[in-house]
């Protein structure tokens, strides 16, 4: 699981063009959206959907699901490990 989280952090940085950040800057439990954590927004949610599809073969058909899945690296990793 820890390898998955580290990979996810690297993929988030690449996919979202967060070139100023390193994986060490992203806490496992930090909120990804809103003013806390990474401060991501709805545009970035689209990036996460693409990331899950292209890197893990997981398609999210219900956008409402994203609110739960994309809360943090922990929730993302948990969802991937259960749906891959």
């Amino acid at each position: 699981m820890s390898d998955l989280k580290e990979n996810l952090k690297a993929q988030i940085i690449e996919q979202l063009n967060l070139e100023d950040l390193t994986p060490a800057d992203i806490r496992d439990d930090a909120p990804l959206f809103g003013d806390q954590g990474l401060g991501l927004d709805s545009i970035d949610a689209l990036e996460f959907i693409v990331l899950l599809d292209s890197n893990y073969g997981i398609k999210i058909s219900d956008p409402n699901e994203g609110k739960e899945i994309f809360q943090s690296v922990n929730t993302l990793a948990d969802y991937i490990s259960k749906h891959q």
Partner: protein
């Protein structure tokens, strides 16, 4: 009209009213370094394009110099300009769909230069007018004419910027705050022209 304060952000450093405040010469990531030295907590900074990052840092430094009695929320006019629009990000976006076969939404949102002014307005909750011009080179007369029009309409002050990120890697953001003044002989255009030359070491 007079200049209340000015800042300059470029890879070698960040300057406020002519003085170096963040030395970033030789840094691998100068803008990240300047942001960290600034100490602002605004994670959205990391998502911004280069234009927005430079303008963000330079604007944060100018905040103490805004007129205390100004209604910034409604009466601050932003007048920005550059010569290459958002070409840097445009190229990255093209690369994302031509080479990586994955059009990037997070890049796409920065494929307009005036997103810079939007980022600043969101950050500071400014709801006044803003404009972004594409010009061949820094033109102090154009800035002063537009600022004077805004001030004549009743705006308290104008935040102006020449914010440029060329595809050859040259980057600079010259921000200056203009407000009304009764000093008739004062030449804002001449001072702006002199200031940017000093910052550029020309």
């Amino acid at each position: 009209m007079k200049i209340l304060a000015h800042s300059y952000v470029c890879p070698k450093g960040t300057f406020l009213n002519g003085k170096l405040v963040y030395d970033t010469a030789g840094e691998e990531n100068p803008l990240k370094s300047a942001y960290q030295q600034l100490g602002a907590e605004y994670p959205k900074f990391y998502k911004m394009d280069v234009l927005s990052k430079m303008a963000f840092i330079g604007t944060e430094l100018l905040l103490p110099f805004f007129p205390k009695d100004a209604d910034l929320e409604n009466d601050l006019q932003l007048i920005f300009a550059n010569s290459s629009a958002s070409q840097n990000t445009d190229n990255l976006f093209v690369e994302s769909y031509e080479q990586l076969k994955n059009p990037s939404p997070s890049l796409f949102v920065y494929t307009l230069p005036n997103i810079v002014t939007g980022e600043l307005c969101i950050r500071h909750k400014w709801y006044g007018e803003n404009c972004f011009f594409i010009e061949e080179a820094f033109n102090p007369v154009h800035f002063s004419e537009w600022a004077q029009m805004a001030l004549n309409k009743g705006n308290n002050c104008c935040l102006c910027a020449w914010v440029e990120a060329k595809t050859n890697g040259e980057q600079e953001c010259f921000l200056f705050l203009l407000t009304d003044s009764e000093e008739e002989a004062y030449s804002v255009e001449l001072e702006l022209s002199t200031l940017i030359k000093q910052y550029r070491n020309e």
